[in-house]
């Protein structure tokens, strides 16, 4: 798989990741890794934030969309 964004710019770059939202192939330059907090618990127990986080790989358009920018 090739990087979709690079392909749009006429470049041929191998993808190293896939956007978890839209499925776009991404090279290292265009993959954005987000660390998502994990919360456990909830009614009838207080929620607790876990020490570990879950990685999420996003493309720039989905990252901007999810961040509301």
């Amino acid at each position: 798989m090739k990087c979709y964004i690079c392909a749009q710019m006429g470049k041929d770059t191998d993808a190293v990741a896939v956007c978890i939202v839209c499925g776009m192939g991404l090279c290292m330059d265009h993959a954005i890794r987000e660390e998502v907090d994990i919360w456990e618990g909830g009614y009838p127990f207080p929620s607790e934030k876990m020490e570990k986080t879950i990685p999420r790989i996003l493309c720039p358009p989905c990252y901007e969309g999810l961040k509301g920018d």
Binding site: G42, Y43, P46
Partner: protein, 249 residues
């Protein structure tokens, strides 16, 4: 997890909302029907407007306040807003011992403030006619009968909490709605028996308000609303744990 003080604040506000809107609904029902002759001594005024529908309306006022509180504060404190629930979760080792007393203090304080602010909002009739929504056994209901009824009512509440919230296999998102409706259903049936407290804090607030604002002294009935709910809730929690425990086959 947020600090204990923040969780206590959440319990305080949640119990305040439960008593202000729930017990407040009983007060308003009595005030609306005041002056009308009651058909029998078992009818103290709640039921004059729409029969059992009066109790359903009061139950739904409790239920909606509980549902809103659960969705608002469930992740913060667990939103027990009921000492019987806190003690039952502690009894099955799902709640830390050190947090039990602080939670109960916050719940009792929230319930008390609700009674005083309801009195301040509505005026003297809230006490003189509505009795601040205080619970007591209805005419013809004995002390032990009242304890039994409160225990059975709280058993249903706690078994619902265990099934829709504590159990990890429960479908998430429904707890507030289901538990609110469960409380409404319990109140509809046992409201005209014991007042349907199923929560020691819910009875404590109006009792304290009555005592300090010059109303009736009802403390002789308070053990009903401590023993019944706590026994019912602990039995439900233990029974659910036993019934749902996995066994290898």
């Amino acid at each position: 997890m947020v600090s204990l003080s923040k969780r206590m604040l959440a319990e305080f506000i949640g119990t305040f909302l439960l008593v202000f809107f729930g017990a407040g609904a009983a007060v308003i029902t009595l005030m609306i029907s005041a002056g009308q002759p009651t058909p029998n001594e078992f009818n103290i005024g709640i039921g004059m407007l729409g029969g059992l529908g009066d109790w359903l309306a009061i139950g739904l006022a409790f239920g909606f306040a509980i549902a809103a509180s659960i969705y608002a504060f469930g992740r913060v404190s667990g939103c027990h807003i009921n000492p019987a629930v806190t003690i039952a979760l502690w009894a099955i080792k799902k709640f830390p011992s050190g947090d039990v007393i602080p939670y109960i203090i916050a719940q009792l304080a929230g319930a008390s403030l609700a009674s005083f602010l309801f009195f301040a909002s509505v005026g003297p009739d809230a006490l003189a006619i509505g009795g601040l929504g205080a619970t007591a056994p209805f005419p013809g209901i004995g002390y032990m009968q009242a304890i039994l009824v409160e225990a059975i009512g709280t058993f249903l509440l706690m078994i619902a909490i265990m099934g829709v919230a504590v159990d990890r296999k429960a479908t998430p998102g429904f707890a507030g709605l289901i538990i609110g409706l469960t409380v409404a259903g319990v109140i509809t049936t046992i409201g005209n028996i014991t007042g349907a407290s199923i929560n020691p804090a819910r009875t404590f607030g109006p009792y304290l308000g009555q005592m300090l604002l010059g109303g009736a002294n009802l403390w002789e009935f308070f053990p009903i609303y401590i023993i019944g709910p706590i026994v019912g809730a602990v039995l439900a929690a233990v029974a659910y744990n036993y019934m749902s425990a996995d066994t290898a086959t």
